[in-house]
């Protein structure tokens, strides 16, 4: 059975993003759920599944059960999924399965965290033997990938910069974004190296905030407060092995995840009107665009140049600013923006007549990947 169009997102909500001192991951999560339920026109009692990605700053057991308690829901299903930044899309898949099999009918999926003002131990922790060699945090590992991509395909720092410029341009059109000022390629080039070839403006910030979505069956979705946004396709692919040991650094899980989701949706990249691609570092959307088939392998750098990924270009990318511009939150904001684009709610940053949006999530150091194809209607 092809699940295309059988499930829909009927509510989205988020908090402010940035440095939110004094706000706990739980407090932020509850606010996002409250906003998503209000958007859907639902009460907590209308929801019977609470699904979470664990806060990275606060790994704790049974997090989804704790969130259910705090929002006053006694659910049929709780679950916390650990696919890092791919978890939010992974949880959409789990929600679809639980609805399909009658275990629940309406799920809220929420991610909230406060690594900017709370603990960021997870982000700074040494990874295995890495610390002994000075490989701390996340950027040096992505730097290995970026450098290898440059070696194999001639990708340039200017091309990485084009991703940051587009995301910051879009963020400046989003009143809710953390970064309100656009940047130029010169700003990118002038920013200091963090780990060569990655400069500061190649890296997303570490941010506090939360976002949530409500997923239900297409039958239930019709007649709700907002028009449903349909799940047309979903996929995942997990290279899994640590960076030094995986077979390639320049092809990611997107290479299997994307085609899987596109096949389910019955579309090709040419059918996609707008894309929200995970951009913790500028190299990532470049690799994802290649792996999804928007261009040939190695041509992602050229693809993002000449304004092609800016609003008004052939494929507007990360229209709310993405991780690089809206907030460094690991991925839920991309689904939220995808839904808003399909509803036509995005004001000055709305892509005209957008009917199909692809969203990606990925976690670790391109360790996991998930793809979600959203549609304004079921083609």
């Amino acid at each position: 059975m092809n699940p295309r169009g059988r499930y829909a997102v009927v509510g989205v909500g988020n908090t402010a993003y940035g440095k939110l001192a004094g706000r706990s991951a739980m407090s932020l999560s509850v606010e996002a759920v409250r906003n998503a339920l209000a958007d859907a026109g639902l009460r907590p009692a209308d929801v019977d599944a609470v699904l979470t990605k664990a806060p990275t700053s606060n790994f704790t057991m049974l997090w989804s059960a704790q969130v259910a308690q705090a929002v006053g829901i006694v659910p049929q299903v709780t679950a916390t999924l650990d696919q890092a930044g791919a978890s939010n899309i992974g949880l959409v898949g789990y929600a679809m399965w639980c609805i399909e099999t009658g275990q629940c009918h309406t799920a809220v999926i929420v991610y909230g965290d406060n690594p900017a003002t709370g603990s960021r131990a997870t982000y700074a922790r040494p990874r295995g033997e890495g610390a002994a060699y000075g490989m701390f945090g996340v950027p040096p590992w992505y730097a290995l990938i970026a450098q290898r991509h440059m070696h194999e395909y001639g990708t340039t720092s200017e091309q990485l910069g084009a991703v940051a410029v587009a995301c910051r341009k879009h963020a400046a059109m989003n009143p809710g974004a953390q970064f309100q000022s656009p940047i130029t390629l010169e700003d990118h080039h002038a920013s200091r190296f963090v780990a060569e070839p990655l400069r500061l403006l190649d890296c997303c910030p570490i941010s506090d905030g939360a976002a949530a979505i409500v997923v239900t069956s297409a039958e239930r979705a019709s007649g709700m407060r907002k028009p449903p946004v349909y799940v047309l396709g979903i996929g995942q692919g997990h290279p899994a092995w640590d960076v030094p040991y995986r077979s390639t650094l320049t092809t990611s899980g997107a290479a299997t995840s994307g085609p899987m989701a596109f096949r389910m949706a019955g579309i090709t990249p040419a059918d996609v009107d707008v894309a929200q691609l995970y951009d913790c570092f500028t190299i990532v959307p470049i690799v994802t665009l290649e792996d999804y088939g928007f261009c040939a392998k190695g041509e992602g750098g050229a693809f993002v140049e000449q304004g092609r990924i800016a609003l008004g270009g052939a494929l507007p990318l990360n229209t709310s600013g993405g991780l690089l511009g809206e907030t460094g939150m690991p991925g839920m904001q991309l689904i939220v923006e995808g839904v808003r684009q399909m509803r036509g709610e995005c004001g000055g940053r709305q892509v005209p007549d957008a009917r199909i949006c692809v969203v990606s999530g990925q976690g670790g150091v391109m360790t996991t990947h998930a793809t979600l194809v959203l549609g304004k209607e079921v083609p």
Binding site: A124, P126, G128, E129, G130, A131, A132, Y133, G134, M135, F136, G137, P139, P140, A143, L144, I145, Q147, R148, H151, R192, F193, V194, A195, E196, P197, L198, D242, V243, P244, Y245, L249
Partner: protein, 141 residues
């Protein structure tokens, strides 16, 4: 006196990888090799990465390899690296197949993917030894 006594974080040595770290201490790089399928693997584990056999032994490798990927880290994440920054970190592909995390003993600007390397070692005052590969003059493999 403002002496920096901060130590580099030591690798986590456990029952599975002790053979690897001991081989570095002896300056005789060794990896696990499967007695059934003959292949080497890294990082260390109790079963062959390729056929899940538990018949294996630590075997010395050639020490010859090429630079697979590198970065030059500028950000000071840890006080022990303050003076070293910017410093290189690398993934080296051994002639035998496995890739290893390592550093390379050369100026960062001389690093090139594909450059030929030979194994070297850096004994640290903290009491452990790291892999520090050296460029092979004029070599690209």
């Amino acid at each position: 006196m403002a002496t920096d006594v901060t130590e580099r974080p030591a690798p986590d040595v456990d029952e599975e990888n002790a053979g690897y770290w001991d081989s570095l201490r002896r300056h005789e790089l060794a990896l696990q090799r499967c007695a059934d399928c003959g292949r080497f693997w890294s990082p260390a584990g109790s079963f062959c990465r390729w056929c899940l056999s538990d018949r294996w032994s630590w075997e010395r490798v050639s020490g010859r390899g090429t630079l697979y990927a590198f970065t030059v880290v500028h950000q000071v994440y840890h006080p022990a690296f303050r003076e070293a920054a910017p410093y290189p970190a690398a993934v080296v592909e051994l002639e035998e197949g496995p890739r290893l995390l390592a550093t390379v003993d050369c100026a960062p600007r001389e690093l090139r993917v594909g450059m030929a390397l030979e194994v070297g070692y850096r004994d640290l005052p903290e009491g452990f030894t790291l892999l520090a590969f050296r460029p092979v003059t004029g070599g690209t493999r």
